[in-house]
């Protein structure tokens, strides 16, 4: 019932805010979402080994208009902290997970990042606010075209996108400081590991379209060793009860 009332209120507020100038619309909802993520991260700190995410990640979350990346009918829900359907059997990820995944890449201003699975384009937009170049590949034609249109309209000039097979990465732009694989893959494609710079990181969410079970970080060390880290993005301790 609480969910029903809050959703109805949100729809009413957004309907009312439609009368406001376009720039102001959704701003307060986005700020509230950022506050929610900050609080969630604090509670999950034991698994993330930090109390707060990189401020640049949170700035990007506060800046990128998520409502521009969702279908019209989903706009009223665009600042709820949950995944939303975007058509073509795909989803826009939960903002909380997007923030954590971006932070796990440890992005720096001059970095070049590759994303496999553009989807709505929201993750690429967040990255583009932080790093200098974002390359993104989408396998579903209609989705890729839609994301490209979003990038143009919202003036994300440092995002290069294309439609096609992400398995071989983007060789002409390699190597990358970071790679995000949001497309479902049965394994980590060897060419992507090759295109990762020594010291670079790859982040992979594992689960179904709506339910990310855990996050995997693949690290390519400077000595050539490749390791993975698995992170449970939820406050969930201890594993044995009765304590």
């Amino acid at each position: 019932m609480t969910r029903l009332i809050s959703s109805s209120l949100l729809i009413a507020i957004l309907a009312f805010s439609a009368l406001l100038p376009a720039d102001d619309r959704y701003t307060s909802a986005r700020q509230a979402l950022v506050k929610e993520i900050i609080s969630d991260v604090q509670e999950t700190s034991i698994y993330l080994d930090k109390d707060a995410l990189d401020p640049r990640v949170m700035d990007a979350m506060a800046k990128v208009p998520r409502h521009e990346f969702v279908p019209f009918l989903q706009k009223p829900y665009s600042y709820q902290n949950r995944p939303l359907p975007i058509g073509h059997g795909q989803t826009i990820s939960q903002p909380y997970i997007v923030a954590i995944m971006t932070d796990l890449l440890k992005p720096k201003a001059g970095d070049r990042v590759l994303e496999i699975g553009t989807g709505s384009g929201y993750q690429a937009a967040i990255l583009s606010e932080i790093v200098s170049e974002v390359y993104t590949i989408e396998i579903i034609g209609a989705l890729g075209e839609q994301a490209e249109e979003h990038f143009k309209r919202l003036n994300y000039r440092n995002i290069q996108s294309r439609i096609g097979d992400g398995y071989y990465g983007w060789e002409s732009a390699a190597p990358f400081d970071g790679i995000v694989v949001t497309a479902a893959a049965s394994h980590v494609p060897p060419p992507l590991i090759e295109q990762l710079k020594p010291g670079g990181r790859m982040v992979i969410p594992v689960g179904s379209p709506f339910l990310v079970q855990h996050l995997v970080i693949v690290e390519k060390h400077t000595d050539g060793k490749i390791t993975s880290k698995q992170i449970l993005p939820v406050r969930f301790v201890p594993l044995t009860g009765g304590h």
């Binding site: 394994h187 980590v188 179904s208 339910l211 079970q213 594993l239 009860g241």
Partner: protein, 814 residues
């Protein structure tokens, strides 16, 4: 009262029941295809409350309907036939997405809409049968007999139909069957031939005219098949259907599939071209294209499942759940000369021996490979051979597995008794190898480990912990159980295998924490901590305290995939916006949600007629209360026994389809015969003695079977299905025969003393049946199927005592 001219529309009633039961099973198939099977279970359980709604409806409108029996009976059958395809076709277009249900209230509204739509066909079918019982009170035992026997035939018929037709075509057949039931009723009730007769005959043909595009199944866009088909250049090149599943073969012409779960991060070669094979639109596996050089298959050596081949020079390997042959190819890559591939679904093996044999390089026709179309557990149990490696393939997709969607599925593949069977069929230094997805926090890998320990203990192995190895990548983990104790050389080999491919040894005898978390790093080495605790003295305490249920499954409680513990629920729900929802074990939650909804709806349906029926029509006295308890107990008990025995026979017949078809059909047919005979019994001995005799028979046989069936099944284990099926029928016949009596005997008593109660208790029994199937599963998960049977016997005993308090009709028939 009886305005039918004394004719019971037996054939018509049997046909309605057969169609309704076919529809129930068909819906399970259809929803497993368009959604996921756990929600299918919830939707169908709730839809069956249509029987309860009918009871309430008939109670309130009894008087008005009674005077127009023939017309009302036929109209309800026709509406049943109409609603049968229409309601499903409408329901599948409701955009319900199970994964959003805790986030988005609109999904709950949509789910409710689906319930309401699917209740309608059952409501109309139940109206027709309930109305007959109400109007022909003196012939209830015969009506009930026709109802049960029709359902029995239906349970076998639908399996046959699903072998020959696509599931959506079966919908048309069922609509024709319903129309035929209406025609039969017209004849049986001896109604005059007129323009309506002609209209009825036309109605028979209408379902055939449903346009094909209306019948197309609307699969969830989030299922694997739908996701793949969105990629340019992909298309379905083959579709096959059977009761075991809807199989799609998909080719991807532009972008290769490259399916290789669990591949090492150090792998450098991509898989060869592949065809995707989906079962019910999910659980993708692949047919690999033949390669010119086996070195192109090196990736099969770079998965955790390759571990056993690095530990011994195997000659004979059994692969359980061989599917489209990936594990067979892995064995061939390791030059195994004698490979036994066991697969349940003949349509899957048929793909590799028929149309795609050449594509696969005649994989299943190679001299090294022997194909066995059989259920895996049954194959091993009846095999006289010993194997160097018994490998259980990864049969489920990660998404469904990680969300706990299989919690409701019984699996006799992963029980302690099954592990004992496997170990007994290994050569002295052989390995059992089981690969599963890695989940965080760990669940199935640990349950598997605990199950192996328990099996070794049961086999009186001195140091079970010295027989186990667990290796893991970031994606998969492989458990190895050696028949003999592991040697130092085994441990060195596995360490080397892991180091070369970037895998971690999560457990081996004597492992140190520092060795367990080197390549695929977890914040805490939880696999190591858990496995060493399980293998040590504190195993039982650890299992009790662990947040998920990792206690071994047994043949009596075969729910390996149920990891749910109540302590988890509130914590995860509270964390739903903080990443907690994906950890919810959906299967069990759905079961509980189904039970709560069914109990709430049943309470309303049972109470409504008491409130709204005309004054004094349903007396609010102790007789009504006794009637309520009696019929509720019978509803619970009948299904408890049926559900529990189906499970017992799954293990005996070793084939889920045969077991369900044979057991269900036998129960219903023999119960129908019992019902028919109950009239004679009552005429001779009166109601009370007849009920006492029937229930005593049920209790005596129930106790006898609970104690003796295990021994009988062990004796007959190597027998063929042609011996096992007659034995099954012979065992079920007397029990079901007695079980068919208490309901019609009591209903006949009531129809003589308080006839207005007949439709109401019919509804009560319907509600109880729905609750019973759900409750039986919950009881079985917690206490095992033996407890379900014992509970049923106690309910029957309670019913016998309650019958003594029934309103007294003549103790001997009129």
């Amino acid at each position: 009262m009886d305005n039918t001219g004394g004719n019971i529309p037996r054939f018509s009633i049997a046909l309605i029941s057969a169609t309704a039961l076919c529809y129930e099973i068909l819906l399970a198939r259809l929803f497993a295809i368009i959604q996921w099977h756990h929600f299918a279970y919830m939707i169908i359980s709730l839809a069956l409350l249509g029987y309860g709604v009918s009871g309430a409806f008939l109670s309130v409108f009894a008087e008005r309907l009674r005077n127009h029996f023939a017309a009302t009976f036929i109209v309800n059958i026709l509406l049943f036939g109409l609603a049968l395809p229409a309601c499903f076709l409408l329901a599948q277009h409701i955009p319900f997405n199970a994964e959003e249900i805790l986030w988005d209230w609109r999904q709950q509204v949509r789910l409710f809409g689906i319930y309401l739509l699917l209740m309608l066909p059952f409501f109309f079918a139940a109206n027709a049968i309930g109305l007959s019982m109400m109007v022909m009170g003196g012939k209830i035992s015969r009506i009930y007999a026709a109802d049960m026997m029709g359902a029995g035939i239906g349970s076998a018929l639908v399996i046959a139909l699903l072998f020959y037709l696509m599931p959506n075509q079966v919908l048309q057949v069922l609509a024709v069957m319903a129309a035929a039931a209406a025609c039969a009723a017209w004849i049986e009730l001896r109604l005059p031939r007129n323009k309506y007769t002609f209209a009825l005959a036309i109605a028979l043909l209408l379902p055939v005219a449903i346009p094909n595009q209306w019948l197309e199944l609307s699969m969830s866009p989030y299922k694997g098949l739908q996701q793949l088909l969105r990629i340019d250049g992909t298309q379905t090149i083959k579709t096959l259907s059977s009761p075991l599943g809807l199989v799609h073969v998909v080719e991807s012409k532009i972008i290769p599939l490259r399916h290789a779960p669990g591949l090492s991060l150090y792998a450098t070669i991509e898989p060869p071209p592949q065809l995707a094979v989906f079962s019910d639109g999910d659980n993708m596996t692949v047919i690999n294209k033949a390669v010119a050089n086996m070195e192109q298959l090196v990736y099969f050596d770079q998965q955790t499942s390759a571990a056993p081949y690095h530990l011994l020079n195997a000659n004979t390997v059994a692969i359980l759940g061989a599917g489209t042959g990936n594990d067979v190819l892995q064995a061939l890559y390791h030059e195994i000369p004698d490979i036994h591939a066991v697969e349940l679904n003949p349509q899957i093996t048929g793909l590799l021996t028929g149309e795609f044999a050449e594509y696969s390089g005649n994989l299943y026709l190679k001299p090294q490979v022997q194909i066995h179309v059989a259920e895996a557990r049954g194959f091993i149990a009846s095999s006289r051979q010993h194997y160097d490696v018994i490998q259980i393939a990864m049969l489920d997709a990660f998404g469904a597995s990680s969300a706990g969607l299989y919690a409701l599925s019984e699996s006799y593949l992963y029980t302690t008794e099954a592990f004992q069977d496997y170990l007994n069929h290994l050569t002295p230094n052989g390995f059992l190898s089981i690969t599963r997805w890695v989940k965080l926090p760990p669940r199935d890998n640990l349950k598997m480990f605990a199950t192996a320990l328990q099996a070794l203990e049961n086999l009186k192995v001195e140091h079970p912990e010295k027989h186990l190895l667990l290796v893991r990548s970031w994606q998969t983990a492989t458990l190895l159980v050696k028949k003999s104790e592991l040697t130092g050389s085994d441990i060195e080999k596995i360490k080397s295998f892991c180091t070369n491919l970037g895998f971690d040894t999560a457990y081996y005898p004597g492992i140190e924490a520092t060795e367990a978390n080197r390549f695929n790093i977890l914040r805490e080495p939880v696999f190591f901590q858990a496995t060493t605790a399980l293998a040590g003295d504190t195993g039982a305490a650890f299992t009790r305290q662990y947040k998920f249920n990792i206690a071994p499954a047994t043949d009596d409680r075969p729910y390996f995939f149920n990891f749910f513990k109540w302590g988890l629920l509130s914590e995860l729900i509270a964390l739903k916006d903080q990443g907690g929802i994906p950890l919810v074990e959906w299967g069990y939650m759905v079961l509980i949600a189904t039970l709560i909804q069914a109990v709430a709806a049943s309470a309303i349906l049972i109470l409504l007629p008491l409130i709204f029926s005309r004054k004094n029509l349903i007396p609010k006295d102790r007789y009504t209360a006794i009637g309520l308890l009696y019929f509720f107990s019978l509803g619970l008990a009948f299904l408890f026994i049926e559900v529990a025995f189906i499970q017992k026979f799954v293990l005996f017949l070793h084939h889920p389809l045969y077991a369900i078809a044979v057991t269900l059909a036998a129960f219903l047919l023999f119960a129908g015969m019992g019902s028919h005979y109950s009239k004679h019994l009552q005429t001779r001995f009166g109601y009370s003695s007849s009920v006492r005799t029937a229930i005593t028979g049920i209790i005596v046989l129930g106790i006898f079977y609970t104690m003796g069936l295990g021994t009988l099944f062990s004796l007959l284990l190597p027998s063929t299905i042609f011996i096992k099926i007659p034995v099954t029928l012979f065992i079920i016949a007397p029990l079901a025969f007695f079980m068919g009596m208490p309901f019609p005997l009591a209903l006949s008593t009531i129809s003589e003393s308080v006839p207005a109660l007949v439709p109401w208790v019919w509804g009560v029994n319907g509600c109880a049946s729905v609750i019973s199937a759900i409750l039986a599963m919950i009881l079985a998960m917690h206490f095992g199927f033996t407890v379900v049977i014992v509970s049923a016997l106690m309910l029957y005993l309670a019913a016998m005592l309650l019958f003594a308090g029934f309103p007294r009709a003549n103790s001997v028939s009129r």
